[in-house]
Amino acid sequence: MNFDELYEQAQKLDSQALGLLHDQFYTVIYRYVSYRLSDQQLCEDITSEVFVRLLDAFHRKDRKIKDVRAWMIGIASNLVNDHYRQKYRRKMEDLDDLENLPSQHSTEKTVDQALNMSEIHWAMARLTPDQQHVLALRFSQNLSLDETAIIVGKSVNAVKVLQFRALAAMRRLLEERWNGKNGSA
């Protein structure tokens, strides 16, 4: 069964097709959410919620879903944004926790050396939702610029600007953190 057939069956609420669709996209959504949130349990919950929303859409016979992956990532992005909004209302308690994460990096870090995920989360949490969205799409999904632009709903040029500024802001934040940590150490 190819993807189109699978998706068609899933739309007809075939439980087997829905199960296969779930398994096929679970990692995709989980990875996207994981780039934006540090709490693993929350990542799992949001990922599950995305599939429940998909089911609702199938029940409603929502014909607006042209690209199911893009649709689900869009839902995941909204759920993450909702989570951040609620967090900001709670005076960014969790973000404060991230401040105390131990740094595993130094300014002497070599190129290509991976950033620690906790650092990524710490820096990501300080970017705008659009910047987070673009970076998570580009680096969690390996999406092209065009694909990212479609999911984000912006022009290619706008996404180029967004990703440049997002990477620059992230680097600046990390350097400040690293310098601060090294200085205090």
Binding site: V111, A114, M117
Partner: protein
């Protein structure tokens, strides 16, 4: 370092990211753009660091299983909800269908009954619907209009029955007229006895109610009487010779008997005879007292021997509680004017009447109002008068 405009720099970064995604190292990429290495390096290093983590993010198998289970559970629950929703909808749909069928059935019966003729199964439905219309009418004026319409319908029915050769008892109303072929009412030829012909001659200006059996081209009359309508309402205007009651003008003549003193705004009960030109001539007007009760109802006395209700209204007005004896001066069921010592209100004052029976100013006026033959037309406001033999003391028009 060569300075580059921001748009070009954005595009250059994108080219570098594509190479990074293709698997090239940051060092390899920067080697291609040595003039911009200083600007690109921190961005590409950050991007490479983020990209490196991608492969490390693997969802826990248990989480995936839990999510799948939740997904399937939701599917079952939603299917059940939908089934309940559908069953509720189904029940609603069935209920609505029944209601619609009932309404359509009633409507079609009503519509079907519109063409029904006396003797047809649906004819009582037609009459009942007319009664409903009369009951729903806004006031006496509208009811009178409806009655006129229904009179035309009755006459049409009788004319239609001529072609069917059915022997059916019919009741209809209209103004009698005499031609070379004999007496006619509403275009229907009547077969009448001599005595009835004599009476008809006196009623040529009044609306009469005819009951009889269809007999080919004619109706063999069994009963014929002038139609008297009774209704209640509030006095709107009083002039010397007419009162306006809820939009209906009622003329007064010398035979009109008024109990109580009328004034604008007061509630009255009226019985009146309908004339050829649609005018109503009042036979009796009973003005309600301050308790909104007709004065004539205060102390009704029924003369058991005569089998006719004898209201004390005249003596009541005079201040005496003694019932007026029945006799020659009080023809039975006769709205003739001139009962003894009756005080008649003209709206502007009161005048004494003589104690002798005066002849009616209108020679066509009758002392025999029609009996209750328009059962379906009787409404609390506008209806033919009650039979004179009723002992109901509220019936006042038939025993003057």
């Amino acid at each position: 370092m060569v300075k580059m405009a921001q748009p070009e720099l954005n595009s250059l970064l994108e080219e570098c990211l594509i190479q990074l995604q293709a698997g090239n190292s940051v060092k390899e990429i920067l080697a291609q753009y040595p003039n911009y290495a200083q600007e690109l390096r921190p961005l590409l290093e950050t991007a490479a660091g983020m990209r490196y983590n991608q492969s490390n993010i693997i969802p826990p198998t248990e989480a995936m299983i839990r999510s799948r289970r939740l997904f399937v559970t939701q599917l079952t629950m939603q299917a059940r909800r939908q089934s309940i929703f559908h069953s509720i909808h189904l029940r609603l749909a069935v209920s609505m269908t029944i209601v619609i069928l009932l309404v359509v059935g009633l409507l079609s019966t009503g519509l079907g009954s519109a063409a029904a003729l006396p003797g047809d199964t649906l004819y009582p439905v037609k009459i009942a619907l007319e009664q409903v219309q009369l009951n729903l009418a806004a006031g006496p004026a509208q009811r009178l209009q409806l009655l006129e319409n229904f009179d035309q319908v009755r006459a049409q029915e009788v004319n239609q029955l001529k072609t069917t050769d059915r022997m059916i008892t019919v009741t209809f109303s209209g103004v009698p007229s005499q031609s070379k072929d004999g007496w006619m009412v509403s275009g229907v030829k009547l077969k009448v006895s001599d005595s009835e012909a004599t009476r008809l001659a006196n009623w040529q200006a009044s609306v009469v109610q005819v009951t009889g059996e269809t007999d080919g081209q004619t109706v063999n009359v069994t009963n014929i009487q002038p139609r008297v309508l009774t209704f209640s309402g509030r006095i709107q205007e009083i002039t010397a010779d007419s009162w306006t009651i809820d939009g209906v003008d009622v003329k007064l003549d010398s035979s009109t008997k008024i109990t109580g003193t009328g004034a604008a705004g007061q509630q009255v009960d009226i019985s009146a005879q309908q004339q050829e030109n649609g005018q109503l001539i009042a036979l009796n007007i009973d003005v309600h007292n301050e308790n909104n009760n007709p004065i004539s109802r205060r102390s009704p006395v029924v003369d058991e021997t005569s089998q006719n209700p004898v209201s004390t209204l005249t003596t009541e007005v005079e201040g005496t509680k003694q019932p007026r004896p029945t006799g020659e001066g009080h023809p039975q069921a006769t709205p003739q004017p001139g009962s003894e010592n009756t005080r008649v209100s003209t709206g502007t004052g009161e005048r004494e009447r003589t104690n002798t029976v005066q002849p009616s100013q209108d020679p066509n006026r009758t002392s025999e109002p029609s009996s209750n033959q328009f059962e379906h037309r009787q409404t609390p406001i506008v209806s033919p008068s009650k039979p004179s033999t009723e002992k109901n003391p509220t019936v006042r028009s038939t025993n003057q």
